[in-house]
Structures are given as C-alpha cells and as structure tokens.
C-alpha cells in the first residue's frame, strides 16, 4: 500500500468531520448533564460501579449483547434480530477493520479521524498480499452484511407484518431524514469503493463492481462525486442524530451502566428517566404488547409515545399518557432496551401539584392493634373485602391445615398504600406504610399472609419488615401442600391460570400457583402467559380509564385466557377476580377457592 496524496486530505471529508465533531460534542455535553442530574449518592454509586470489576464486565457484556448483537430482539423474532445486528455489528466491524488497516499500512495517519473511514480513497495498492486480501475480504463481507440489514429495513418499512409486528410508529420528519441518510450511507460507500477498487484494491464486492463500472464508466472522474456523496450522507446522519430516534445509539451505551449500577428513577425528567427516554429507538414493540392497544384510541398512549412526548416536552399529552396507563408493567418486561414505562409514568404523576393532601396522622392505630404472637397475621386487603369468597376459602384452608392465624383487617384496616403510590403521591403512601408497619410489628407475628398481589408488591418493596416472612397465599398454599399439611385430590376439570400483573411481573411469582394447580386438575396455558400475561383491565394503576372503556380490555384478556378452552379460569388477585367475573363466559375463581374445593381434611 502506498499513499496517493502527500497531504492525506481532500475537501470531501468535511461534511463527515463537521457531523462527527458535532455529535461528539453533543454527546459529551449530554453525558455530563445526565450524570450531573443524578442525586449525589447515585452518582457515587455509578462511579464506583464503573471501577468494580464485576459490574464492569457486565457492562461490557451487556453493551456487546444489547447494542451490537441485539440478543433480546433475536429472541423475539429472528428476522428482526438479524436486521438489527447486521446493521449494528456490521457497521462496528467496518470501523474496527478500517482502523486496523490504517494502523497496518499508514500508521502515521492514525490520528486523523476520517482516515479509516475514507481509507480506500487515499491509498493505492502496490502489491497483493495474503494479509491485504484477508482485510479486503473482511471489509467487503461486513459491508455486505450491513447492506443485507438495510435491505431488510427497507422491506420492514413497507411490510412490518413479516417481522411479527402488527403496528409500528409513524416516524417524524427528522426521523425520516435520519432514516434515509442511514439507508444511503452504505450503498454510497459501496459505490465509492467500487469506483476506487482498481486503484486501492478490493474484494469480491467492490472489485466486481469495479469491473462492471469500468465496462461503461471508465472515467475516474466519477470517483470524487461518489466519495463526496458518501461523506455527505454520514455528515447529515450525524447532524440530525440528536433530534431523531437514532439518539438511542449513544444513549443506550450510557443507560446500560446506569442500570447495572442499580440506579432507580428518582426524577420525572432527569437522570435515569432522561437516559431511558432517549434510549428508546421507537421500535414499537410496546405498542402490540400494551393491553390498552386493543382499542385504537389508546395506541398513542403507549410507552413509545410517552417517550416521544417527553422528548418534545408536550406537557398536556404527557399528563394524559401517564394517567391512562394500567401500570401492568408489560411494556417494561418486553422492552429490549430497558425503558421502564410504568415507573416513568409514576414519576410523571409524582410531580403534580395538589391543593389538598390527605393526612393520616389522626388515625389512631390503637383501635386496630392485634395480638398474633406465634401466629400468622392474615391481611386480606381491602379489595378482598369486595370478594369475600377469597377470604372465606383461605380461612377454611388455614383451618384444614391447622394453621393458627389472626385477621389484621377484619373490620377494615388501613390500605397498604400501593394504589396511592401508583398515583404518584409518595408522601401519603409512606404514611400508610408507616401506620401498617407499626400495627404489624406490634402484633408480634412472624409471618404476614396476603391475598392481594397489589398489597404484596408494596409490602415486599417498600415496607421494612425484616424478620417477618411476607407471603402471598399462592406461595403459602404451595408450601402447605409440599409440607403435606393439605391433602389435595385431583378433579377432571381443565384449569387455566391468569398471572396477575402485580404478582407475576411485579413480584416474580409464576411457578408456585402453577405447582398448586397441577395437583388440582389439568393445567393449560393462556396464549400469552407469565411475563407476557395480559392485564385484566381492572387495574387501579390507571387513573383516567373509565369503567366502560375497560370492557374491551377485559374481553381481550379473556380471549387470551380461553385459547386452550379451559373449564375454569383461576387467578390469584381479588381485583382480577371481580373484573373477569363481570364478563367471563365460564367460571372464574381464586386459587384459594379451587384448592379449598379439592381438599377435604
């Protein structure tokens, strides 16, 4: 290899350089701002995690798997996965091999930013070597990989169904500019390198193209315009990047270490929330996943649109979108980059101003005091008060198993605080948490049994009840059966289990209820289950969805559950039970009722 130009420079590198300098400056400023916005202790945590070998290794692994290989998308749909990783990984490899070429052949140019990008223009091949052939082959190979990804992306724009997606987002104007410039970068590169291949050398792709070109365009004057076009496409892409969804590329690289450092959303718009919002590539997976999207009118209230409106600062829409959501957490569970749609919304709700703030300091907990030393304290929850069959069945089971217990909220108690927490009124929720903690601690119980997953989640997440076992009745029944304290007999019925959002996605309890039901009868699965189960539609998470607007959601969830035509729908949440019972065409019951019926001792 020898250099063709003494200066190692041509004006066509300017568009690329301008774009590159702009995007680098922009990202560095954004990075400093986001880290500056973190609360002090979070910032410390973040820096410490960066030098801890374990998190460091995890960061590198996650960045490699998520940003370059897109492993999570592969798991969802192979074609979609290939499309993403071919573009990201292929491009990455082009950059890496490009740098290797420069380091090998023109090491004195290594400090020039643009040199590896436009290497082929600046050099001429003097002799063919094995080493060169391998590098050339690699460059052409990865270019082909990227081009195949781009071709898929173009097909996807036209027909998204092939990729297992029913709905995608409408790109904004700048998104389109970004999209078209990204699409054109690689064909233009192929063109430019094709024109130059007889001078600089090339491999199967560029060389062959060169033969084709020379057969009718033998003039080297075509070379420069194509290099200009390539550089312009890069420049435009970098310049519009911060204002398009492609900002997700640099943002995700920041989001991954933030997440691995264990940082939580503390502010509606700053710090982690901001990193999440900008990491969203508008892939649209959360549209199909969202239970609200069965109604067309709700599509614009899914998480991808929340992110978009937060970027635009459209306060009216942010409020609407935040209030409508059921907080079922499904978008969070399936999001390939880790945007927490539910938590983001709670954070938006938490900044509202209220003239009236409930205050529970006047509530005298002495009247609610209970003595349950050596016994189990059973807090059925207020929702269970509306579905007394659950409590009855549970009490019957406790008696059959010979478990001694006390009821904590026989005549009504203080709410667990989770519905208030979901409304973003943390101070009020914390007051309830404190009151209940006092009652539980003073009772002397060593186990707290719950029937409502809504309660269960906040008891697990926000109460400090060290030394007290907190169990949901699904877990408790499972352990009673495996300890042999409940004798269970099978019946010929076919059961399907509905994973309540707060118990499954919210608290990670999937197996215990299934273990239990397997012994009671035949267990079939819903079309979408476990992590992807569909919210019943009754969730207290939504503030603005009115009663009549929820019907379609419930019916959709029921259709999902009855895919394998079960006889009975079993759930483990009082709210799901009453919501499903309203519209179901077959029996709906709580798991406690099922087991109570199937045990005799």
């Amino acid at each position: 290899m020898r250099e063709r130009f003494l200066t190692g420079y041509n004006d066509f590198v300017l568009p690329f350089m301008i774009g590159m300098v702009f995007i680098l400056t922009y990202c560095i400023i954004a990075l400093i701002r986001i880290i500056g916005q973190l609360p002090k202790e979070d910032r410390r945590r973040f820096f410490i995690s960066l030098i801890t070998p374990k998190t460091l290794a995890k960061n590198i692994k996650d960045i490699f798997c998520d940003c370059l290989l897109h492993v999570k998308i592969w798991k969802r749909n192979k074609l979609l996965g290939y499309m993403h990783s071919s573009i990201a990984f292929g491009w990455f490899m082009l950059i890496v091999v490009g740098h290797i070429e420069v380091l090998l052949y023109t090491p004195h140019r290594a400090k020039l930013f643009y040199y590896p990008i436009f290497f082929r223009y600046f050099v001429a091949e003097t002799e063919t070597t094995m080493k060169g052939a391998v590098l050339f082959f690699l460059m052409d190979f990865f270019l082909l990989v990227v081009l195949s990804g781009i071709a898929l992306a173009i097909i996807k724009r036209i027909r998204s169904k092939i990729f297992g997606m029913r709905r995608t987002t409408n790109p904004s104007f700048l998104d389109l500019v970004g999209l078209y410039s990204l699409w054109s970068i690689f064909p233009l590169r192929l063109l430019a390198e094709g024109f130059t291949a007889d001078i600089s050398g090339g491999s199967f792709l560029t060389k062959s193209l060169n033969y084709v070109f020379t057969s009718f365009l033998s003039d080297h004057a075509n070379m420069l315009p194509s290099w200009w076009a390539y550089s312009c496409a890069l420049g435009i892409f970098f310049c519009v990047l911060p204002f398009t969804r492609y900002m997700h590329i640099p943002s995700e690289i920041l989001l991954i270490p933030l997440r691995n450092a264990g940082i939580k959303i503390r502010h509606a718009r700053k710090g982690l929330a901001k990193a999440q919002v900008y990491s969203c590539p508008s892939c649209g997976l959360c549209i199909d996943a969202c239970p609200m999207s069965v109604q067309k009118g709700n599509i614009k209230d899914t998480t991808v649109y929340l992110n978009r409106q937060i970027r635009r600062g459209n306060e009216v829409r942010i409020e609407e979108i935040s209030d409508k959501c059921l907080l079922c957490g499904k978008c969070t569970a399936i999001c390939p980059v880790g945007v927490e749609g539910d938590k983001l919304r709670i954070a938006q709700r938490s900044v509202r101003k209220y003239g009236l703030s409930p205050d529970y300091s006047s509530i005298d907990t002495a009247s609610l005091a209970i003595d349950s030393r050596g016994k189990i304290l059973y807090y059925a929850g207020c929702m269970t008060a509306l579905t007394p069959s659950i409590r009855k069945a549970m009490e019957s089971l406790l008696k059959k198993a010979g478990v001694e217990y006390e009821l904590m909220d026989k005549d009504g108690g203080i709410c667990c605080g989770r519905p208030m927490w979901m409304a973003g009124r943390f101070d009020q929720a914390k007051q309830m948490v404190e009151k209940n903690t006092g009652i539980i601690r003073n009772s002397g119980a060593d186990t707290l049994l719950l029937s409502c997953p809504i309660c269960y989640r906040i008891f697990k997440e926000r109460y400090s009840l060290e030394g007290i076992r907190i169990v949901h009745h699904t877990e408790f029944i499972d352990s009673l059966i495996s300890e042999g304290r409940l004798k269970i007999k099978r019946d010929p019925r076919k059961y399907v289990y509905h994973d309540p959002c707060e118990l499954g996605r919210g608290s990670g309890i999937y197996e215990q209820p299934r273990n239990v039901l397997l012994r009671a009868g035949t267990l079939v699965e819903a079309a979408k289950n476990r992590k992807e189960s569909i919210c019943c539609g009754g969730s207290v998470g939504s503030l603005s969805l009115s009663f009549d607007k929820r019907k379609a959601l419930t019916e959709n969830a029921l259709n999902n559950l009855t895919a394998a035509s079960p006889d009975v729908i079993v759930t483990a949440c009082p709210l799901c039970l009453s919501t499903f019972s309203r519209y179901a065409d077959r029996k709906v019951e709580d798991i406690a009722e099922t087991i109570d019926r199937n045990t005799s001792n």
Binding site: L356, P358, I363, C382, D411, G413, A423, V540, L545, D548
Partner: protein, 112 residues
C-alpha cells in the same frame, strides 16, 4: 330554666343552604374536568365500602353533596383520610371514575 331542660331536646342550627349565595365557581370548574361530578345518584355504595369511613367519616356521596352545595369545609375534612384505594370505583353503579374525581378535587380545592 331553659327550653331544652323541659323538653329534652334543643333547636339545632339551621342547615338550610341558600344556593343563591353559594359560590359555585370551583364546583363548575370541577364539573368541566369531571363531567361525572353530577352523575352521582347518592346511592351510598361508595360509602359502604370505604375503608376511610371508619377514620374520618369519609363518604364520597357526602363529599359530592357538600361540594354541590358549596360546603367545601365539610368536604375537605372528610377527604383527609381517603386512601385512594379505589374500592368505591369498583362498586359505583353509575360507573363514576371516583379516584380520578377525588384527585381532581384534591387539585382544585385548597385546605383553609
């Protein structure tokens, strides 16, 4: 000797509300935000299920009544213990989104 000692009961203060003197601007604002504010038929289902009733006499039925009649102080006092648990919304036969209604009241009205 006063009258009450003879008959054993007294005259309670008048609870007449003169709707002409009541300032309903705030309630009308609430009604704009929450068209359901006039939908309540005072059935009392919400009150019967309300866990806050034990503590502050909370009754959404009464709160709406009080607001419609300009007796904001009474309403505010009852609302103090609402825990936003949402049971009332599940039992309301008129399908009122009570939690949203309560939050809107909390936004518009002030403690005084």
């Amino acid at each position: 000797m006063t009258m009450e000692n003879i008959f054993g009961f007294s005259i309670s203060p008048s609870s007449t509300v003169n709707l002409d003197n009541v300032d309903l601007t705030l309630f009308n604002r609430l009604h704009e935000l929450e068209p359901d504010a006039w939908k309540c038929m005072s059935c009392g289902s919400c009150t019967a299920t309300c866990p806050a009733g034990n503590f502050s006499g909370m009754s959404l039925r009464k709160v709406l009544h009080a607001l419609q009649r300009g007796k904001e102080k009474d309403a505010v006092k009852m609302l103090r213990c609402c825990m936003l648990c949402g049971k009332c919304s599940m039992v309301c036969p008129r399908g009122i989104n009570t939690r949203h209604l309560i939050l809107s009241i909390c936004k518009l009205y002030k403690e005084d």
